[in-house]
């Protein structure tokens, strides 16, 4: 990595103050790590705090799929027969489709990024394996990034707690406790995206395909909402659990500037529709990227 060219400490301090104010204004507690992929400069807010990752761990899964494929240990075009029953439930993709299909591993990956398809993700978890994913994260130096649950296990834990609008009941939900579920930090999630964009996961055509894949997400209400610019590309992956809203991804400017950003939030409100908490992810990411881009 080239030597870090950090924005002035006053610029960083101002950005951190504004990010914390934006989190408070949105009624959330938040963590952020924004990283200039080429200079290594960064802006951080509580970025090493362990946090449940939920669907963000799908990125770790896909990174491992492509790394294994690049190493020749796995064929990402392998076709999988997916019968109609026995799919992990979800709200989009194969999880809500009714009939049997046959699909390649990489097309399942496409559904996982595009609409956070839980059924497709769990088929990939079985094909790739927890051990391979956790080993890959360790090889990339992301030792706080650990998977223990597939999407079905997370869904079951949520179903076991009948009272998801009562904050008093939340203390008992295992998938909201980073010690008991898939976990990482804002810093390591940003570093994971930076590794993909620096060709440290795989290189050449495979890496191009992985980056293109990570740009397919349909949702724009979080990170992308902070960058309403026609010439700026936003690639990312969201994660959502009761009170938790996260996104990690990469922001690319036409001048070549590229920034890996992870924003994790936990809302005071238990409402499942909370536009201010979604939007502050974009707001915070933009404040951080503006600070990294300031002269």
């Amino acid at each position: 990595m080239s030597e870090a060219v950090s924005p002035s400490s006053a610029t960083t301090r101002r950005a951190v103050t504004r990010i914390n104010a934006a989190f408070a204004d949105a009624g959330v507690a938040g963590q952020l790590h924004a990283l200039d992929i080429d200079s290594g400069a960064s802006v951080s807010v509580a970025a090493t705090q362990l946090t449940p990752t939920s669907s963000l761990h799908k990125v770790c899964l896909l990174v491992t799929l492509y790394r294994e494929a690049a190493a020749g240990r796995l064929d990402r075009t392998r076709q999988i027969d997916i019968p109609a029953g026995e799919r992990t439930p979800g709200l989009a993709g194969l999880a809500v489709m009714r009939d049997a299909v046959r699909m390649s591993l990489r097309d399942l990956a496409t559904l996982v990024v595009a609409v956070s398809d839980n059924a497709a993700a769990d088929i990939l978890w079985r094909a790739v394996g927890f051990d391979a994913v956790n080993r890959t994260m360790a090889e990339l130096g992301l030792t706080d990034t650990v998977a223990v649950h597939d999407m079905a296990a997370i869904r079951d834990a949520l179903r076991a707690q009948p009272n998801l609008t009562d904050p008093a009941a939340f203390a008992d939900i295992s998938v909201l406790n980073p010690a008991l579920t898939n976990r990482s930090t804002a810093r390591q999630m940003a570093e994971l995206f930076a590794a993909v964009w620096r060709d440290e996961v795989c290189s050449g055509e495979t890496a191009e395909e992985l980056r293109a894949l990570l740009g397919l997400q349909a949702w724009t209400h979080r990170m992308a909402s902070g960058f309403p610019f026609d010439d700026v590309r936003v690639s990312g992956k969201t994660a959502t659990l009761p009170t938790l809203r996260h996104e990690a991804g990469v922001i690319e400017y036409p001048d070549g500037g590229r920034y890996a950003v992870a924003v994790f939030t936990r809302a005071a409100s238990t409402a499942s529709v909370l536009p201010a908490a979604d939007a502050v992810i974009g707001t915070a990411a933009r404040i951080a990227v503006d600070a990294l881009r300031s002269p």
């Binding site: 979800g90 709200l91 956070s116 949520l158 904050p167 936990r266 005071a268 409100s269 499942s272």
Partner: protein
């Protein structure tokens, strides 16, 4: 030197009047006990025992020291038992807080119930906002509290969620005041008096969202704090209402429940997760009872979201 331990050895020797028997009782070697008593004698600069073939007899100075050491050892025992009860939460000071506008009756009932259930302990009660309470709980300067929801929940445990219905505060001569309840849609065109959003952004947004859901989007928000100022504003302008729990009646303004009771404040007790000693539990029970009996709060079943959207990722 551990003075208390040495005084205890001294007392046993005085009771037994014999180093050998005292050493057996204390399960010490006799030379070791002798050394300890000599050390105490050096410390005080007086001879405590006349040592003879028949045993150990207290000197006049030793008798004076024995009388005083009884008092010291009794005080030490009392101190130990107080500390133990303090650790058990039986006595001591519980640092607690309540939010504004809980009502004098509820706070008085809480104080009384706490004292009755936990005699000998002190309740250091302050009035703090929900945000101040969660910050102080995290910092360890507050043991328990009563908070309004939504509230940032990381690291906290909560008692039962209690609801307090909100109603519409109107001018007494408002046409809507003639009805027993107010359809929120009938407030269209009015402004809404609310506390500053910064006090609790999540509650502020939740209230406006619930109003919008039931057909009322205020034309303007008038920031106001305190019941007196709220009443004054409503009395002075016809186009303003407030949404508050039922206040004590006062001429000039009228409080009416909204149709369907769609708005409530949610309140619960709170403490640091894993720090619910007996005093905290007594406070939480006393507070829960006081809020139900004296603040008109009630438990209501929490509802699951009925229209989860694809980006929520999990069908709840």
């Amino acid at each position: 030197m551990d003075l208390l331990a040495h005084l205890r050895y001294f007392r046993v020797v005085a009771e037994e009047q014999h180093f050998g028997r005292a050493a057996t009782r204390l399960r010490l070697a006799q030379p070791s006990l002798s050394q300890r008593i000599q050390r105490l004698e050096r410390e005080f600069g007086v001879r405590l025992f006349d040592r003879g073939r028949g045993g150990a007899v207290l000197t006049p100075a030793g008798q004076l020291v024995l009388a005083q050491s009884e008092a010291v050892l009794d005080a030490a025992d009392r101190l130990r038992s107080v500390v133990e009860r303090l650790q058990d939460g039986e006595v001591g000071t519980l640092r607690a807080a309540v939010p504004a506008h809980l009502g004098g009756a509820a706070v008085a009932a809480l104080l009384t119930a706490f004292q009755e259930r936990s005699p000998g302990s002190e309740l250091d009660l302050r009035e703090l906002t929900t945000a101040e309470q969660t910050a102080e709980l995290a910092a360890g300067t507050l043991d328990a509290g009563i908070v309004r929801h939504p509230c940032l929940a990381a690291g906290l445990s909560f008692g039962p969620m209690l609801h307090q219905p909100l109603g519409v505060l109107l001018r007494g001569d408002d046409p809507l005041a003639t009805q027993p309840e107010v359809d929120l849609r009938a407030l269209t065109g009015r402004g809404l008096a609310m506390p500053p959003r910064a006090n609790s952004p999540a509650l502020h947004d939740e209230t406006l969202t619930a109003c919008a859901r039931h057909g009322f989007t205020p034309t303007a928000i008038r920031t106001v704090e305190g019941l007196e100022f709220t009443r004054a504003l409503i009395l002075s302008g016809a186009d303003l209402v407030a949404l508050i729990p039922e206040p004590p009646p006062e001429p000039g303004t009228t409080w009416r429940p909204p149709t369907g009771r769609p708005l409530s404040w949610r309140t619960s007790t709170v403490w640091r997760a894993g720090h619910d000693g007996p005093a905290v539990r007594v406070f939480a029970e006393a507070a829960d009872l006081a809020l139900r009996v004296h603040a008109g709060m009630y438990a209501a079943p929490a509802e699951r979201p009925r229209a989860t959207r694809p980006e929520t990722e999990f069908a709840l």
